[in-house]
């Protein structure tokens, strides 16, 4: 019975962190998008120019607009289009928070296999987020 009870406890911890991180992510996504659409923050690429640009490939779009890649958007939050990436980043990071939250339970029960799986999953997600894989 013990493993099942422990498994249920992990699931509940994961579910709780997922619930709150997702809510925060969705609120950030909607609020920043409204700010962007209403022009409360100026856009880096003006909205009326986008129909001329969104048919280009990513490479061409970046070249045409001079949009920086990687984490540069975080330092350009005064621009509406970059600010609205905040919610996307929080949602993309939800799994990292959730996995990190259940690791102490695995450590407590000395479940080395799942500690290793969680650690590797976090490494994969963090490396992907870091931009190390390039273009």
């Amino acid at each position: 019975m013990e493993p099942d009870r422990q498994s249920a406890s992990e699931q509940l911890t994961y579910a709780a962190v997922l619930h709150w991180s997702t809510i925060i992510g969705f609120i950030a996504l909607i609020v920043t998008f409204v700010v962007y659409m209403l022009g409360w923050l100026p856009a880096y690429v003006p909205l009326d120019k986008l129909p001329h640009l969104w048919g280009l490939s990513t490479t061409e779009y970046l070249k045409a607009t001079g949009t920086p890649t990687g984490w540069s958007w975080l330092f350009m939050m005064n621009k509406g289009d970059f600010a609205s990436q905040l919610g996307i980043a929080i949602l993309s990071g939800c799994s990292i928070f959730c996995i990190a939250a259940i690791m102490p339970a695995y450590a407590k029960s000395k479940n080395l296999t799942y500690i290793a799986i969680c650690f590797l999953e976090i490494v994969v997600l963090v490396l992907s987020a870091s931009g190390i894989f390039g273009h």
Binding site: Y61, L91, I102, L125, S128
Partner: protein, 325 residues
């Protein structure tokens, strides 16, 4: 009286559904022509028409995706990629976000009521996360028409899979394999209809890991999520009860899509003006879709989704080949 009310409600929902389908087809037709104009010359359409159209289309897609048992991404990418003026790179980035957001939103309740199993999801999600980065990297490196052709073929394959795939509510697993035992992958599923607790185990875990490497790669490459492949993989290959397979699929999808989404985000392939209205529209439509599931036959909606996938698959394929711009 009550029966008449129910019949009336049924008729209303059926009408709503066909209205959605008609609106969806109109949405196909309208931007299709404009897409050509927008791609070649600056569109004369006001910029706000596009995110608004995207929101409306995604709302209807969300309505039919839930009852049909497919993720939003698999409908989103071929339809928006074929009929809107956006480059496929941005559509795939938005598709991943749509798939991930839907899976994240469903996650907490699936985990709480035991419909998703974390110990089953974690190893498979690790395999899928690693390969989805490879898929995303390849997807952004390949010419758009090549990805479009491959996507068209894949979408037609998915439609064929949906037409032919068998399902097993409670697959028989004679003996759990050693790896699943080592990983402690098992559980007890409470069947609400019979009120019984049904213990389950899995088999063929190594094959499952290999399969999820492939599924993750395709998910990252096309930005379509992978619910369409996760569920048959878990249910038919590994012997997971159907409802646990569907719930666990969401958890795997959320983790695997995250790694690919980061890659797209880092490389500037997610435009908020495309991604955000899509996510919001899909989430709102999915809430109505969940209600439709209780009043309409799932098979009717499923057949409609298969028809849409066949149409979108052919359109995507022909667009990739340059035969139907």
């Amino acid at each position: 009286m009550k029966q008449r009310d129910q019949a009336g409600q049924h008729r209303n929902f059926r009408f709503l559904l066909w209205l959605s389908a008609t609106a969806l087809l109109l949405c196909f037709a309208l931007p299709a022509e404009a897409a050509v104009v927008a791609a070649k010359a600056a569109s004369t359409t006001a910029w706000w028409v596009w995110p608004l159209s995207l929101f409306v289309v995604c709302f209807f897609l969300g309505m039919i995706a839930v009852p049909a048992g497919v993720g939003g991404g698999v409908l989103f990418v071929p339809i928006v990629g074929s009929f809107f003026p956006f480059h496929l790179d941005f559509v795939r980035g938005a598709g991943l976000l749509v798939a991930m957001a839907s899976a994240l939103a469903a996650g907490p309740s699936l985990l709480k009521n035991g419909m998703a199993n974390l110990r089953l999801a974690m190893p498979l999600a690790l395999a899928a996360s690693i390969s989805s980065i490879g898929g995303a990297k390849l997807g952004l490196a390949l010419p758009a028409n090549v990805v479009q052709i491959a996507l068209g073929v894949t979408i037609l394959g998915i439609a064929a899979l949906m037409l032919s795939a068998k399902k097993s509510e409670f697959p028989h697993v004679a003996q759990p394999d050693p790896l699943s035992q080592k990983l402690g992958i098992h559980g007890v599923f409470r069947d609400v209809i019979s009120g019984k607790d049904i213990p389950w185990h899995v088999h063929r875990t190594p094959m499952g890991l290999v399969l999820f490497l492939i599924i993750g790669f395709l998910g990252g490459l096309f930005g379509v999520g992978a619910g369409w492949a996760n569920v048959p993989g878990l249910n038919l290959l590994m012997g997971v009860p159907l409802k646990v397979a569907a719930g666990t699929s969401s958890m795997i999808l959320a983790m695997a899509s995250s790694s690919a989404t980061w890659y797209y985000l880092d490389n500037g392939a997610i435009l908020p003006i495309i991604a955000v209205p899509s996510v919001i529209g899909m989430m709102m439509g999915a809430r109505i879709g969940a209600h439709l599931l209780t009043v309409l036959k799932a098979s009717v909606i499923r057949n409609m989704v298969i028809a849409i996938l066949l149409f979108a698959g052919v359109r995507t394929l022909l667009k990739g080949m340059g035969w139907w711009i």
